[in-house]
Symmetry: C2
Subunit: 348 residues, 2 copies
């Protein structure tokens, strides 16, 4: 039986580093007009015809950012790209290329990497970005992923973290808190599995929040929607570390204060029910959960009619003078200072 | 005494991820006209005024690519940048920006990261590139570095791995094999130290090759020199994995064969003497050693008068028709096929 299992596994030593990159990237086509040369030379070559180039990079580390015991590799490949595209969209730019680098221990067979790259390929296809480079090397332990995303935008379209003004409205896309609760569900099932490997977890009631954790979608559609609505946010950031942390970033960079209204924070019904099940406060989860990859932005009040009633966009507060501070206005109308409780990898 | 030691150490938990990035990058200025926004937003913003953008990324993993028992962190920061700039210069482009991402275990105090970033800063200063982004996160074990370098070039100046023609001359910059032998010296001293921690290693006779290993320099000067000499190589690559591996890459991409003449391979006298001491063949080291970060390129024979006699450039062979194969012509005039023996991280 052991031999049968091994037949499906191709050791990485056999392929070597160059063969591996060729093998893993051979099905990636270049579709962006700005992609001149992709994988296979010393560097990728791109051309933006005078547009601004936007670039973002992130690292994901096994045991810190993901747990392979419940994160399928294809999802991981997809999510690694999403995390970076999200940063490009948070600049109000359109992502055009990514590079994906991997450090992996020899315990991973080729087929595992193929799964990972299948996820990368799917993300590239759905979001219309080209894989143009990367590096693949061995690690002493575990899997470490580094992705760099490149995007393009007209100078006049780029939105920074700075730029928000007092009285601007604070808007969040989609709903938040789901990714964090999805992680709690997966962690719980992992513990159950450890005790009883024959248990059949029923994840069906949690499918929305589990998908938010395993297969988040970056909000390219919002960049397109805002263009269509002719709304240019005054400041913007993506929600990777939790709402409170991102609100603080916007306030700090824009030199303003903020009031966030608890009752306005958009929560999916599954988030509310799972919060109750886990005996956690759903507002706290929205503020501190992270990994939702929604966008958080400020708009001039004059733009409110343009976004009013759009199901993708929720006004959750407004910016104030800096000296008024950053507060959550609770359902009970208490005013609580918001402190950074976003995810901090060094505090684990 | 233990308390005294600890006074100099700042734990990473104290600073948190955002504070850490701010702290480590606060002394980096943007000097490139193409750098619009650096660290501190969701993405860096660059503008190339219609020039081609060139981008390269590499990962360095503790225990695979470097050993902190003899690699000072400042050197490591410097080398991490060099490895990537080298890829940009190998496109005949000028590097303009880098992003540096780090995954590190909690065993590293802040001061260690400051050392690393001091090396990054020195590299940025000397090579006139801007640090515009990166990510800092924790790792389960060890230190993993991912650097992305961005460069710019006029389309007509870019040199690819493809483009070499039969009868083109094969040229190498500087001398090769030193970095690999430097590593052998450092490995030997590490073993000696394990046996006798009081031994005082005398590295003076090996200073050139040890520096080649610990503080390589990417050949920006060669890109400038070639421009001045009005020579545009027909194909080019940097020597990161060893001469044989790079020659094969050029031949494969250019669809040609090659003859390399053993007697022409430029070796520093220290490389020759250290080879003898380690009972290794100096040609084999040059062919397979790697990490020299010199440039290897082909030029049209008509350009030979322009490079003749330049101490930085050595003609070591010529390209042939593809069906003639890739060979080393030894001092004894034997013709030996060159096979890829470059460094392969999965074979360790």
């Amino acid at each position: 039986m052991l031999e049968d299992k091994n037949q499906e596994r191709t050791s990485l030593e056999k392929l070597g580093e160059f063969g591996l990159i060729d093998h893993l990237t051979k099905n990636f086509e270049l579709k962006q007009p700005s992609s001149i040369i992709g994988v296979g030379d010393d560097a990728a070559v791109m051309d933006y015809n005078g547009k601004k180039t936007v670039l973002s990079t992130d690292m994901l580390v096994e045991g810190v950012h993901f747990d392979l015991s419940y994160m399928p590799l294809k999802h991981l490949g997809y999510k690694s790209v999403m995390v970076n595209l999200s940063d490009i969209y948070a600049m109000n730019a359109i992502a055009t290329q990514v590079t994906v680098s991997l450090a992996i221990s020899n315990r991973f067979p080729l087929e595992a990497l193929e799964e990972f790259y299948a996820g990368v390929a799917l993300a590239c296809k759905l979001y219309n970005v080209d894989l143009v480079g990367g590096d693949t090397t061995s690690s002493a332990r575990g899997m470490i992923i580094s992705v760099t995303a490149i995007g393009a935008a007209n100078e006049s379209d780029i939105v920074y973290r700075k730029g928000g003004k007092p009285n601007d409205l604070l808007v969040v896309t989609g709903d938040i808190g789901g990714a964090y609760l999805g992680l709690q569900v997966l962690e719980r099932e992992k513990e159950v599995f450890k005790v009883n490997p024959n248990s059949q977890p029923d994840l069906e009631p949690y499918s929305y929040i589990v998908e938010r954790q395993l297969k988040p979608e970056a909000r390219k559609d919002i960049v397109e929607l805002l263009k269509k609505l002719e709304v240019k946010p005054t400041s913007m950031i993506d929600i990777s570390d939790g709402l409170s942390s991102e609100v603080i970033h916007l306030c700090k960079h824009s030199d303003v204060g903020c009031n966030v209204f608890e009752e306005k924070i958009p929560l999916d019904p599954t988030v509310i029910s799972a919060s109750e099940e886990f005996k956690m406060d759903s507002t706290m989860i929205a503020l501190s959960g992270g990994e939702d990859y929604e966008l958080l932005f400020t708009i001039d009040q004059a733009d409110f009619p343009k976004i009013k009633g759009n199901p993708n966009l929720t006004v959750i507060g407004h910016m104030t003078e800096k000296n008024e501070g950053i507060h959550l206005i609770t359902r009970g109308e208490a005013k609580i200072p918001i402190t950074a409780q976003g995810w901090n990898s060094f505090n684990e």
